[in-house]
Symmetry: C2
Subunit: 215 residues, 2 copies
């Protein structure tokens, strides 16, 4: 398969293209050149052309890209045209924040269920979805064709929950727990390690301060 | 300055080293070889040595690295040994989740203030910090030596808030709003675009499904 070769770096940039193209589409823009897109997105036009060439180029450059076509094509590549059912494991603040985020629905990600170990949280409602006990996890995944599990629980519980998930039909884990998970290759993992992101910011603050102290 | 040359890719990996070394330290491990670290972290030993060489190598390889020394040195590089005061702008679920996250404090990030435009949220308490109106933003930043602003507000408000922040002493923005910000170079921006991350996951699910359909 052609796209087996496409690097995760390219894949990582696709959602950003999708976002900018969505905005252009909403503004009624019909065509856009790689130069205009380059200015808007602050990446080089050559990078844009190279990235798009991974997917066959999406039409002629001289004439510019058709915004709606490009938006839809990138959406298809990202799988946004399909529906993905997801559950959230961990009904704390972060879990509830993600459950309440309507934009995921617009992208085809459907919030179906929520789980927690805390008896006090069981039965609470998050945007029409009620929090269930962990005992119901496997059955619920099977009955509701769940593809994605979002982990918003502390590190300590995440490893064993990931082991349970690995024995279900789950295709992907969106992991907010501050630990790297060990699951079979057929399960995709995307980590959002918030502390790591904050530390990277901290490094860049200090580097910037040091540079300013230099003569 | 030597570390001006260090790529953001290397910087991006430092927090992960810091996390694993912290765990080893907590387990009482005193020395670790690049081979052991390699097995644990699932990166090559050569990658580890290359990354560490950016910072002078951190001691002899044959004998292994001193875990506590390495942990402290990487912590210093990341600026964890210093205190950074932060505010959160946006007192919704995500803002409150971040405000309640104690681990940031352990890394020297002190949660000092919270702001929102919604009059109903003003005065509410998030872990001892009460939500303030946006009118008090600039004064509060100045009086409390705030370094970092965390943006957990919708896209529409984020751009104008970033413009206000750009006129303050703020050194960094941790941006959760689904938009790229345009601020002066002296302000570091670290984006956490959750929808982008979810779309990358979606791409990988579909790619994996397609591969399984191949003969």
């Amino acid at each position: 398969m052609e796209d087996r070769e496409i690097s995760q770096a390219v894949i990582g940039r696709l959602p950003r293209y999708f976002r900018y193209l969505g905005e252009l589409k909403d503004e009624g823009v019909e065509r856009v050149s790689s130069q205009d897109l380059s200015r808007l997105m602050k990446v080089t036009a050559s990078q844009i052309r190279q990235d798009f060439n991974n997917f066959g180029g999406f039409g002629q450059q001289g004439y510019g890209y058709n915004v709606e076509y490009l938006y839809n094509e990138i959406g298809k590549i990202l799988g946004i045209d399909r529906q993905h059912n997801f559950i959230i494991i961990g009904a704390g603040n972060l879990g509830r924040a993600l459950g309440n985020y309507m934009n995921f629905e617009r992208r085809g990600f459907i919030f179906c269920g929520m789980f927690d170990v805390d008896p006090e949280l069981i039965g609470r409602d998050v945007r029409g979805v009620s929090v269930r006990p962990m005992e119901e996890l496997e059955g619920f995944i099977e009955e509701n064709n769940i593809d994605i599990a979002v982990l918003t629980i502390p590190k300590a519980g995440a490893v064993s929950v990931a082991e349970r998930l690995a024995r279900t039909r789950i295709k992907a884990i969106w992991n907010f727990a501050h630990v790297d998970l060990n699951v079979p290759d057929r399960i995709q993992v995307e980590n959002v390690h918030l502390s790591d992101s904050l530390m990277k910011l901290s490094y860049n603050i200090n580097r910037c301060a040091q540079e300013q102290e230099q003569p």
